[in-house]
């Protein structure tokens, strides 16, 4: 008969010697004591040698292949490997189990008992060769009406629906499993599977029983592969700087991101020993990196430290602490959380802590459908694209901190009018900061921000310019003459003192910058921008109310910085 008998010299010798095709499946001390030994890898390799490029019509296996521990029921696990591994070429071959036990009894002592009740699975308690030959003939000719002995698609799907294979139950190893499975799918879907970086993961996915089960449940077809054009992320100016903070970055995520963010400066922290660091060490290390590398976008994993798996309060999770610290350092740095968690309470906590986006690495394995990872990849591209449109916020907040420092370093006499002005400016910057935190969150947010900044500068006009009885305008305590300035090309021209005329916003700001604070020469191109900002505000108030673009927010905050740099009474 064209059947294969798998054994470990644990069956009658006469039975083994009568079979033409046999596989002696043995795991010895040498294998067990290997550092990277897993039963599944060993099973895969031995089965591949026995089944690859061959075609058996039936496979006989005893329930147990161990001569030291019958309850290992390793024959059952081997049979599942055969059912679930494409490359063996025997996924649909009938399997006959040998053992005195009934299927019901095996079900009581194995997690895989339901597999025994799926199509194409038989058992016998007879150990003579001629009995197995009879069983073989019956399986080949009679188990199905049309004399086709292999499982058809409906029968195979029935097997899949009746069988459940659980992953290892440790939190940490489960965390790794979710990562590895997600990386495998991401690499497949962005067509990076030939990248050598993924060799180790692909090798594990191909040999591990649980992964082969997932592959059978969620196959990835060619038509689901994402076009490279759809992965392109647009940005203006210098290439953005992205930092991946993930304890699994060296497992393959960094390699995937290098592929996706090929036009970006991409950084990760592969050598950081997350497993043996305290929360404070982690926060300090990450913030130093963000500051030194001038990071625009952080891609942040949810659980970074081992204690994150056992903390009682969500606020104690390392990523939430880190996220708050990043936003405290600069709320404009974009943070997209990239994690396997899909728990609503986790997402709420992350949102409260200031996350700008959330991308699920690969969803929960249990709830996964074949499109979810594709959606995750599309979502990542979409959210990074969104982050790039808000990249200017980092500059805004850097400038706002500088403006606060400028104001705080001003000298003044207590209870003077200038002291009141300083207090007013501080309050106004606080308001602008609040508006800054909402930029990008509503359609009018840039308009409100712009008007608040414009109003901040208008305060300078009200504070510094004084008209005497002869209607001549002076600037500040030093009573410097206010001039008439006109824009000519990129520079400005002066045409005498301002007398009995309306002091425009443009003229007031230029007078302060050139003549009073002396921070700009008259040849500077900044004047064109000042003029543009003045017109923009007038048009907005009096005419079209068209939305203010983000570059103009940067310009007006830069102007606020300039005006406050050398501020004096």
């Amino acid at each position: 008969m064209n059947a294969l008998l798998i054994h470990n010299d644990n069956l009658p010798t006469a039975l083994i010697s009568n079979f033409k095709n046999t596989l002696k499946f043995n795991i010895g001390y040498a294998q067990t004591l290997e550092f990277d030994f897993t039963f599944d890898k060993e099973a895969h390799n031995q089965l591949n040698d026995a089944l690859g490029n061959k075609s058996f019509d039936t496979i006989f296996i005893p329930y147990s292949l161990s001569v030291n521990n019958y309850l290992e029921l390793s024959g059952l696990r081997l049979a599942l490997h055969i059912r679930l591994t494409n490359e063996f070429g025997h996924k649909n071959t009938p399997i006959v189990f040998l053992g005195h036990e009934t299927k019901e009894q095996i079900t009581k002592i194995s997690d895989y008992g339901s597999f025994l009740f799926s199509p194409g699975i038989f058992n016998t308690s007879k150990f003579e060769y001629h009995h197995l030959e009879e069983q073989h003939n019956w399986v080949i000719n009679n188990w199905k009406e049309n004399s086709e002995s292999l499982l058809n698609k409906r029968e195979y799907d029935l097997f899949l629906s009746r069988t459940t294979i659980k992953p290892a139950t440790s939190h940490l190893s489960n965390h790794s499993l979710v990562n590895e499975w997600a990386i495998y799918q991401w690499a497949k879907l962005i067509n990076s599977e030939d990248n050598n970086c993924f060799h180790q993961i692909f090798s594990k996915i191909d040999t591990d029983l649980y992964f082969n089960y997932l592959k059978a449940l969620h196959p990835i077809s060619r038509q689901n592969v994402i076009d490279r054009k759809d992965l392109e992320i647009r940005f203006s100016g210098e290439a953005p700087k992205v930092l991946l903070i993930d304890d699994e970055s060296d497992k393959g995520w960094a390699d995937l991101f290098v592929d996706i963010f090929e036009e970006f400066y991409f950084y990760d922290i592969p050598s950081y020993d997350f497993k043996n660091k305290s929360l404070n060490e982690l926060l300090k290390f990450c913030l130093n990196n963000i500051e030194e590398l001038k990071i625009d976008l952080v891609i942040l994993d949810f659980r970074l430290l081992p204690q994150d798996h056992i903390v009682n309060k969500l606020e104690e999770i390392s990523s939430i602490k880190l996220l708050k610290a990043i936003k405290l350092y600069n709320p404009g740095i974009q943070v997209v959380v990239f994690s396997a968690t899909d728990k609503v309470w986790n997402l709420n906590a992350l949102q409260r802590a200031g996350a700008d986006g959330f991308v699920n690495k690969g969803a929960s394995i249990e709830l996964q459908n074949k499109y979810s990872v594709k959606k995750s990849i599309e979502s990542l591209v979409e959210q990074v694209q969104e982050s790039m449109s808000l990249r200017y916020l980092k500059t805004i907040f850097t400038l706002l901190y500088k403006i606060k420092n400028n104001i705080n370093s001003c000298e003044y006499e207590d209870d003077s009018s200038f002291h009141g002005f300083i207090i007013e400016l501080k309050e106004h910057v606080g308001l602008i900061e609040e508006l800054g935190r909402n930029l990008g969150k509503s359609p009018k947010s840039t308009d409100f921000m712009f008007l608040a900044c414009f109003h901040f500068l208008e305060k300078f006009k009200n504070q510094y310019f004084i008209q005497d009885r002869r209607k001549q305008v002076f600037i500040g305590l030093e009573r410097v003459d206010c001039k008439m300035y006109r824009l000519s090309g990129d520079t400005i021209t002066k045409s005498g003192k301002l007398i009995d005329q309306h002091n425009s916003w443009f003229n007031a700001i230029v007078n302060l910058l050139v003549d009073y604070f002396e921070v700009l020469p008259t040849t500077h191109s900044e004047f064109r921008i000042i003029d543009k900002l003045a017109k923009l505000r007038n048009n907005y108030i009096h005419e079209d109310m068209q939305s203010i673009e983000s570059e103009n927010i940067v310009h007006i905050v830069e102007l606020m910085d300039l005006v406050t740099t050398k501020m004096k009474e």
Binding site: N10, L11, P12, T13, A14, L15, I27, G28, Y29, A30, T32, L33, E34, F35, D36, F37, T38, F39, D40, P62, S64, S66, V67, N68, N69, Y70, L71, E72, S74, R77, H100, E101, Q105, K108, I109, F127, E128, P167, A168, T169, S170, H171, L172, S173, S176, D208, L209, Y210, K275, P306, Q307, H309, I310
Partner: protein, 200 residues
Amino acid sequence: MTNKILLIEDRPGRQAQFLSDQEIINLHNLEFVEIPLKDKCIEWIVYINSHEFENIEEYDLIIVHKSSLKSDSIKSLGLVCKKTNAKLILFSGGLSQVTYQSKDFQCLSINSSVLYTDKLIGFLKTYSNGKTASLLELVYGEKWKLEILLRCRQIQTRCDAESNIELKIKLEDELSILKQSIENEVQNIDNEINKIFLSL
């Protein structure tokens, strides 16, 4: 005489994943079990990874997190266990199947979740008193006797069908030793097995 046990766990947080606070306290209070913590634990790992086994030879059972050791150190530790007839339990989060060997010395490879269960403390107590026959008692508890009976039946089947006298005698000896380990007369293996299955 009390059997001495060494448990090397380089990530104490893992115990908290599987055991309650009280169970962890009870585990660490066991007199005959050495569970080195922090620097002591690192010291032990360094000893093993440097192939310095003098201190380890006094232990009858060594339980160690497999991933904390270097590749060649695991093999060397195996050789030491073979020499001193110590038993070895390797645990790791990545092991999905129980693997057990007993020919040269008892060696059990299990997932961390199989080690840290409510059976652990009871097993260690029994082991220290010298009343444990097989490491499989840790994995299967009371079902361990079923394992012996199923193996007896498997050997009996081979024995009955065996025409080679020499091999037949060897199998009968094997069967006899195995039956002794469950310390009771088994009149009918099938009945005994069926009785246990019915109780499950």
